[in-house]
Each structure stands twice: as C-alpha cells, then as structure tokens.
C-alpha cells in the first residue's frame, strides 16, 4: 500500500500535508479504496454493519493513517458517480450525511462543528477540504492555539464573536443532556453562568471574548488531549 495506487497527485498530497496537521501516509492510502468501486461497496456494507453495532472503527484501521481514512470516509458519503478524485474534491456533502459518521454521531456539538468548518455560501454542506480542515484541527498534533480558536467558534452558538449568557446556557445544556430530567434547574444554571462569568470575564462586559476564552483554556493542561477526534 504505497503511492502506486494513488490518484491524488503528489503536489496535492504534499500540499495537504504541509497545510494541515495530517501526515502524508494518511492521505495516500485512502485513494486506493476510491479506485475500486466494488471494493468500496462491500466495505461500505461492512461499515454500515459496524455502525449498527456502534463499535468504533478505529480498531481495524491502526495501519491506516488519518487523511487516507478521511478521504475514504468522505467518499462513502458521496453518491457513486461523484467518487472520482477530482469530483470528490469539489463535491459538497450536506450536513445530514456528515452527521451520520460514527465519530460525530454521539457528539452533542456535531451541528456546530459542521457549521463552523463549512465554507459554502449557504453554510449547509462540507467539501472534502473542509472535512480535512476539521480533521486537522481535531488531530493530535494541532497546536492548542488553533484548537482553542475553533473551540470558541463552536461554542459561539449565535456567531456574534463572544459567548454571552445565552451561548453559555446552550453550551451547558449540550454538556448535560437535552432531556428535561437531565438539565440543570434554572437557579443552578443561573448560578453556574454567574460563576463562569465571574471567573473568566476579565473586562466585566458580561460576555467572554476570544482572548478571555483562550486565557481560561490555557489554564487547563488537559484541553488539547480531550479536543481530539480519532477516525
């Protein structure tokens, strides 16, 4: 499994390798699967079987690096006719299909993640490069700086550049679960948000901006290891 079966040009590969935190071998291996549609079909059946049992697929892909798997998973989401390399790079996949990936299915922030990384004008679909961006930010080697930057944008539910009380309360509801019995009570929520603002809002304007957020994150050494998605 080397570069012989790869249809992604070497320049494109090198470019992805240089601009993201993903490694070269990871991108190379994926295209091998794209070349053989019948293999893709059978693997897709096996994969959908795995998805039903809910087992993470990472176990059988230890030898299969990240961008490769990224490209393969992405291509599974596309209809058959768009699976060639050139078209797969341009195709836009709607959110519903991205959200069906097992790595994102159980994540309460999945819609926000897709929306933040989408560069389409209508912001309702992801291209392969957006997908690569997503994986790069959530990869192991990404700097804590870029992770905290995107974490801020994910948590900013109304996209106004700061985390206000509404954002924070939606964030806490995502963390604790959306059911009626799993939410915090109104008084607890208010107390919690007051405490959070007290601790992190340094300029006392009632909202948390990016700098304040990054300052809070810098105090937690475990953030970088928990802000990771493993394909």
């Amino acid at each position: 499994m080397g570069g012989s079966g790869s249809r992604l040009s070497k320049e494109l590969l090198a470019e992805y390798q240089d601009l993201t935190f993903l490694t070269k071998q990871e991108i190379l291996l994926s295209v091998h699967v794209v070349l053989a549609p019948h293999l893709v079909d059978s693997e897709q059946q096996a994969r959908s079987g795995n998805e039903h049992t809910g087992k993470p697929i990472a176990e059988n892909t230890d030898s299969c690096p990240l961008s490769t798997r990224a490209h393969r998973r992405f291509c599974e989401l596309l209809p058959q006719e768009q699976r060639s390399v050139e078209e797969s790079l341009l195709a836009q996949v709607p959110f519903e299909q991205i959200l069906s990936l097992p790595e994102l299915k159980a994540n309460p922030f999945k819609e926000r993640i897709c929306r933040v990384f989408s560069t389409s004008p209508t912001r309702d679909s992801l291209s392969f490069e957006d997908f690569l961006d997503l994986l790069s930010v959530f990869s192991d080697t990404a700097t804590p700086d870029i992770k905290s930057h995107y974490a801020f944008r994910i948590f900013d539910f109304d996209d106004d550049g700061t985390l206000n009380r509404e954002d924070l309360s939606r964030l806490v509801n995502c963390l604790t679960g959306e059911g009626e019995d799993t939410r915090l009570s109104a008084s607890e929520m208010k107390q919690l948000i007051d405490n959070i603002l007290e601790e992190s809002d340094i300029d006392r304007d009632g909202t948390i901006n990016l700098s304040e957020f990054q300052h809070v994150i810098s105090r937690s050494p475990d953030f970088a290891s928990s802000f990771k998605i493993v394909l």
């Binding site: 090198a14 470019e15 390798q17 240089d18 601009l19 490694t23 070269k24 990871e26 993470p56 230890d62 690096p65 159980a106 994540n107 990384f117 560069t119 490069e129 957006d130 959530f138 990869s139 192991d140 080697t141 870029i146 930057h149 974490a151 944008r153 109304d158 996209d159 106004d160 550049g161 700061t162 206000n164 924070l168 963390l175 604790t176 679960g177 799993t182 915090l184 607890e188 919690l192 405490n195 601790e199 340094i202 300029d203 006392r204 304007d205 009632g206 901006n209 990016l210 700098s211 809070v216 810098s218 105090r219 937690s220 050494p221 475990d222 953030f223 928990s226 990771k228 998605i229 493993v230």
Partner: protein, 765 residues
C-alpha cells in the same frame, strides 16, 4: 448643530450614512445574522430591542460599576455598526483581523522583538490590541494590503517556519493555499520537510503512561546490571559449593531451591578479580594479569554498577517529575474551576451513544458538586459545625493511622514469630507465609480506610482521592519500614554464618511474586464480583473508578519500591518486575474492557501523572535509596558468600581500590584526590545542597512575583472594560439626542414643507 463632544471620535451624522470611517465586518459579510437584521430594520425606522451587550447583574460588590442602558426605543445603525466592529468581537471572526494578527506575529518572529514599537501605534488604549493592528489605525488598511504585507513577511521566513505558521492559522484550506502560493519564492521549488506525525493518540490512558515509565526505568537498570555484572559472571562462573538442587515448581514462588546459586542472587557472585588465575580472595593488586586478558574486579563492578544505576534513576526521575509538574501546573489554575469544567471537560474522542450519555451524566454530577461546594463556601459555617467537621476528620485520620500502625505491629510480631519457630524455618513453603500475610494486609486495610472515608464529610471529591492516596501510602510505608528493619536488623543477626543477602533477595522476590498473584486474584474476583453486585446502585458507580485509579497507581509504586529495595541483593529482580508489569497491564486492560468502566475524567489525568511521579520519587525511591545506603555503609556483609565476603562493609571495596590506585602511581592520582575531597568530604555535599536551596528559593520568588503581576493586569483589564462601557453609554446618549432632534426637525419641516436642500444645510451646522 453639532454638540460639543467630550472625546475625539468621528461619528457619522445620520444613521443611514454609508461613509463610515471604520470598515466593519459588515462590509466583509462576516457580521452575524442578528446584526444584519437589526441594521436592516433600523434603516426602516422600526423599533428594535435586544441590545447586543447585556447588562450584568448588579452584585453587592459591584458598586460603581457601570451598566449599559436597557434598550428603550430605537438604536442608531451607526452605533450598532460600531459595536459590531469592536476589535474584541472581530478578532476571532473576520479574515482581515486574523491576517493582521498573524502578520504581527510573523514580524515579531523575524525581528525577535517582544514588543511592537510604540511610535507606530496611535490611538489604541489596550496594549494587546496594538498587536492586532486593527481598524483603530487611522490609515485603515484594506484586506488586500494586509494580505500582501503578510505574504511579504512569510516570504522572508524559513520554509519550515512558514509551514508552521500557515498550519497554525485558523483559516480555511483554500485561503491557506492562496497565501502559500503567493508567498512561494521564485527560486526553485521548495519541499517542506515534516517531522513524523504525532504520538499514537489511541493510548493516552494514564495507566499506560505509568507502566511505560516504570518499564523504562527497569529496562535501563536491567541493561546496566546485565552488561556489567551478570554478563561477566556468567562468562566466568565460580565453582559451586555442592551439587545443584533439583528444580521443583516451587522455585517460581519462593526463589529458593535451584534458583539460589545462580546469577539471580547476590551469593553467587565471586569476590575476586575475574579473568585472573588468582588464589587470594583480596583485590587483584598482587596478581599478575594474564597476557591478553582484561582483569575485571567483580566487587568493584558490583558496587559501582548498582550505585550508577540508582544515580541514573534518580536523575531521570527528578527530571521527569519536574517536566510533568511544568506541564500540569499553571499559575492560578486552582481558580476558575467552573469555567474550566464547562469548557474543557467534554472528551471528543467518545463515539458511542452510551459512553456519551455516561459522560453527560458525569459532567452533570460534577457541575452539581461544584455548585454545592461553592454554596457551602459562600455560607460560612457556624463554629459548632466547623468543630464537628474537624472532629469527624480528626477521628477518621486517627483511625486510619491506627490501622497503619496496627498493621505494622502485626507484621513485626509475625516476623518475630517466624524467626523464633524452628520447625517453620525448615519447610520451603513456610517461607511464603510472611509475603502472603503482608499482601493480604495491603489488600484489606485500604478497604477499611475506604469505609471510614465514606463516613467522614468531605467537600470536594478531588480532595477525597488525594486523602485516600495519602492514607494508603502511609499504610504501605509503615509495613515496608517494618520489613526493612526485620531484614537488615533481625535477619542479619540471626543468619550469622549463613548467606543473609541471599535470603533477603529471595524474600523480596517472594514479595514481588505474591503481590502479583494477589493482584490477579483481586482483579478477577474483586472487580468482577464487585461490579456485578453494585451494578444496580448508580451512586456507588460514580465513586468507584476514581478510587481505582488511586489504588492502581499505588500498586505500581509499591511493586517498583520492592524492586528497588531488592536490586542490591538480587540483580535479576528488574527483569521479574518487567514481566510482572506487562502481565498486570494486559490483565487490567482486559478487566477494564470487560467491565466497561466509566471513562476517566480528563481534568484529573495530568495531575494524576504528576502525583504518580512525585510519589515514585519521594517516598518510594528515597526510601529505597536510604535502604541501599544503609546496607552499603553500615551492615557487615556475610563472610561466606557474595563479592564482599571479606570486607567490613560493601563500601570498603571502593576504599580498597582507591588505596590501590594511590599506590599505583602519579598517573591516576586525580582519582584518589577526587575520592578524598569530594566524595568523602562532607563540605562538598553541603555546598551542593546550599546551591540547590538557593535555586529553589529564587524560583519560588519568581512565581510569587508572576502571581502579583497577573493580579495587577486583571485589575487593569477590568478598568479598561469599565472605560469601554462608559464610552458606549456616551455613544448611546449622543445618538439618542441626535435622533430626537432629527425626528423633531423632520416633524417641523413636514409642516413647513421645506426643500430637502435646506434640511441638509441645517443639519450640517
């Protein structure tokens, strides 16, 4: 007519004025939907509500704090536009701001300056905003210009640095590609060389890290011992005292029997210089070396190899402890626990719905606990309540310390009984009794302490874990201390004339093996059975995983302490420990997977690894080092076996060699000099200790100063925030006044039906 303004700010005259000086993200279509809608509706003169900045609750200590007015009518478009373009809002969002920020960073990288030049920046109040070089600059740059500046700076960087900078920019792939294209230098194609990818992320668990650390330490020790002691001894085997005993299966447990006269134990090693046909057992100075052979002084090698192994372990341990501490400790990290829990506690690696729900439960419980703790801290408890709590705490501690003392006394009594009873000494299986008893005490007493801990009131579960670790550690230290006294004090006296070092080495081997067997049994029966019994009670489930982490960490430390204690008497013990660690790791991993334990809490992991290394270094390694030093300096080696059999102490071998070197001649005279004035002289040790203390004190002062600076900076930012709110309030009031005048003017001109030209003239004065 223009109002006299208290500050210099060029505000647009009418709300619908398109000639705003500050280019706002609105122009870049980066403004969020609510602003867009508001501005649209404003321009149609529809009353809107929902001011962007919210009013903070007026707390009691917030006297003098300004708040923003509640929206009571129309807000001018220009105000909203200015608010939308505030740098603190746009830093994360607008492309131009990001490009400016990274331009400044690249400039600093190139010029190696930590501050931007003051002369270049005009109006900005906040030093941090100067770095962003945003629209506060009167010569507001277009995005194209900013991009070209960034590209120029990128071109002047080295390839690897440019790649690193591009990779770390929070822009989309297409934008990064265009920047890269533009900044590519025309002199030939460059290929960025990337290092290998990151460490495998699938194995980030704490146990794996701990086991790996211990494996590394043991492997280094084993390598040294094999290379310098065991290898030569195997190459030149000494004559055995009698026929080798038959190997029964019991050796694996007791270490006695056919293992006794092998390289595994101290007694097998010769005390002569190898590779020399020497009859005298003293040092080889009197023998003539064989031509072509290299004389190898076994006692010296034994002593110095063990010493070097400990020294290397010490340095490595202290270095990794310091490194881990630096990674996990942040100045002021104990505060802000609510914010950190909410922002950092979700583990994105979770992929199953059930695990995700479990994590949500954990986080909800944690948040409720935090809020309860906070409530408790807010309401000061009465003196009576505090006394009661102190009494309960004191009682629990007393009981646990009493348990530890009781266990130590029990071990002492039992070991004395074993010494006294002659018939037990004859059987080989009877040797296993003491390790078994100690192992059972080590298993059972922590459960007792856990029950006591459930009775006492604790405010925070983090403290509970650390207290449990402390108590368990005290128990183990008490037992180990008693055992060390038993070996070096009593057994040496009893076994005069026999090989007591062999016995001690075998004892430690037995302890290691028995510890492993009991751990296996405990894992199989304890965790499986326990989890079945309490699987219905959700309350207990929450507490169990935390205790397990503490207990597992302490078990690893205990095993490693036994290894370090026994290295002097049984050089093959690190190999046994390595095998044991690997087996234990796989057994525990299977047990974890089978029982589907709750996922670990990420916020505890890095602290735990620091705690693990600290505990490994201070009580464990230090204790083993003290034991080793005492054994080498003070205890008389047995006269019938081992490499030091004719000397008064093991350290003598070194002194004998130094005397031999002194006699050898002036060529190597620096070595005895070093030995006399640095190693044996206490002044040098005092000097080094004093230097170390000075360095530690300086570091403490630096941290204290940093904390003070952080406090001052926070105050300054909070004052700036008040300035901001004041200015925004002023803006509102000015615009409100203008719009009121505008409305009244529109009303009067409608009556008089004046031409629009007059209107503009009137407005302009």
């Amino acid at each position: 007519m223009a109002q006299p303004l208290a500050f210099v700010l060029d505000v647009p005259e009418t709300p619908g004025d398109q000639g705003s000086q500050d280019p706002s993200p609105y122009d870049e279509s980066e403004v969020h939907d609510s602003f867009h809608q508001l501005i649209q509706e404003q321009s149609q003169w529809v009353a809107q509500e929902g001011l962007e900045l919210q009013q903070r609750e007026q707390e009691a200590p917030g006297s003098g704090q300004q708040t923003l007015p509640r929206p009571e009518g129309t807000q001018s478009t220009a105000t909203l536009r200015i608010l939308a373009s505030m740098p603190s809002r746009t830093i994360g969002r607008s492309r131009g701001a990001i490009i400016s920020q990274y331009y400044s960073r690249t400039v600093q990288l190139r010029r190696r300056s930590s501050r931007p030049l003051l002369g270049n920046f005009v109006l900005s109040a906040r030093p941090s905003l100067r770095l962003y070089d945003l629209e506060l600059d009167p010569t507001a740059r277009e995005e194209e210009e900013k991009q070209s500046l960034l590209v120029k700076e990128l071109q002047s960087l080295a390839v690897a640095q440019r790649d690193h900078m591009l990779r770390g920019m929070p822009l989309s792939l297409a934008e990064k590609r265009s920047l890269r294209e533009k900044s590519r230098t025309p002199t030939g194609r460059w290929r960025g060389q990337r290092g290998s990818g990151g460490v495998c992320s699938c194995c980030g668990r704490l146990r794996y890290a701990c086991v790996l650390t211990l494996l590394a330490f043991n492997a280094v020790l084993l390598l040294l011992l094999v290379a310098f002691i065991m290898g030569p001894q195997v190459a030149f085997p000494p004559t055995l005292p009698g026929p080798a005993p038959v190997c029964t299966g019991l050796e694996l447990l007791t270490g006695a029997g056919c293992f006794t006269h092998t390289v595994m134990f101290y007694g097998h090693y010769s005390n002569a210089t190898l590779n020399q046909p020497c009859g005298s057992p003293l040092d080889g100075s009197q023998c003539t070396p064989r031509a072509g052979g290299l004389p190898y002084n076994m006692p010296l090698a034994y002593l110095y190899t063990v010493g070097a192994g400990f020294f290397i372990t010490c340095i490595t341990l202290v270095y990794s402890m310091a490194h881990s501490f630096g990674e996990s400790y942040r100045v002021g990290s104990t505060s802000g626990i609510h914010a950190i829990t909410v922002f950092c506690s979700w583990d994105y690696k979770v992929t199953q719905k059930r695990a995700s729900r479990l994590q949500q439960d954990n986080i909800r419980t944690r948040l409720k606990e935090l809020l309860a703790e906070w409530q408790l801290r807010q309401s000061p408890r009465s003196v009576c309540g505090r006394l009661r709590q102190a009494a309960a705490l004191g009682l629990a501690w007393l009981l646990c310390l009493g348990t530890a003392l009781g266990c130590a006394v029990a071990v002492h009594v039992f070991s004395e009984f074993l010494i006294q009873s002659p018939e037990a000494a004859g059987q080989e299986a009877a040797l296993l009794v003491l390790p078994l008893v100690v192992g059972l005490l080590n298993l059972g007493a922590p459960y007792l302490c856990r029950v006591l801990a459930a009775l006492e009131p604790h405010d925070s579960p983090v403290l509970e874990v650390y207290v449990a670790i402390c108590r368990n550690l005290i128990l183990k230290l008490a037992i180990l201390g008693t055992l060390c006294y038993h070996w070096l004090g009593r057994r040496v006296a009893v076994l005069q004339g026999q090989c007591w070092e062999d016995f001690v080495g075998q004892e430690l081997y037995r302890f290691l093996v028995m510890d492993f067997v009991l751990m296996l049994l405990d894992t199989l029966f304890g965790e499986l059975v326990w989890s079945r019994i309490i699987s219905e009670k959700k309350l207990k489930r929450r507490r169990k995983p935390e205790f397990d982490i503490a207990r597992n960490v302490l078990e690893l430390i205990y095993g490693q302490t036994l290894t370090w204690l026994g290295v002097l008497f049984s050089p093959l013990l690190p190999a046994v420990q390595i095998i044991k660690l690997l087996l234990v790791f796989y057994v525990k991993k299977t047990s974890l997977l089978a029982n589907c334990q709750a996922p670990r809490r990420p916020w505890l992991a890095s602290h735990m690894s620091t705690v693990f290394l600290t505990l490994l270094c201070f009580p464990a390694f230090l204790g083993a080092a003290v034991f080793l030093c005492y054994a080498v300096w003070q205890v008389k080696p047995s006269s019938t076996c081992g490499p030091f059999r004719t000397l008064d102490s093991m350290y003598e071998a070194g002194r004998v060699w130094v005397r031999y070197l002194e006699a050898a001649g002036p060529r190597v005279s620096w070595l005895p000099w070093v030995h006399r004035y640095l190693v044996e002289n206490t002044f040098f040790v005092f000097l080094v200790s004093a230097l170390l203390l000075a360095v530690i004190y300086l570091n403490i002062q630096v941290v204290r100063g940093q904390r003070r600076v952080i406090c001052l900076l926070k105050e300054q930012i909070s004052n700036e925030g008040e300035d901001k709110i004041f200015l925004i309030n002023k803006l509102h009031s000015i615009y409100e006044r203008k719009e009121r005048e505008e409305r009244s003017r529109v009303g009067t001109t409608e009556e008089t039906a004046a031409p629009p030209a007059l209107l503009t003239e009137e407005r302009d004065d």
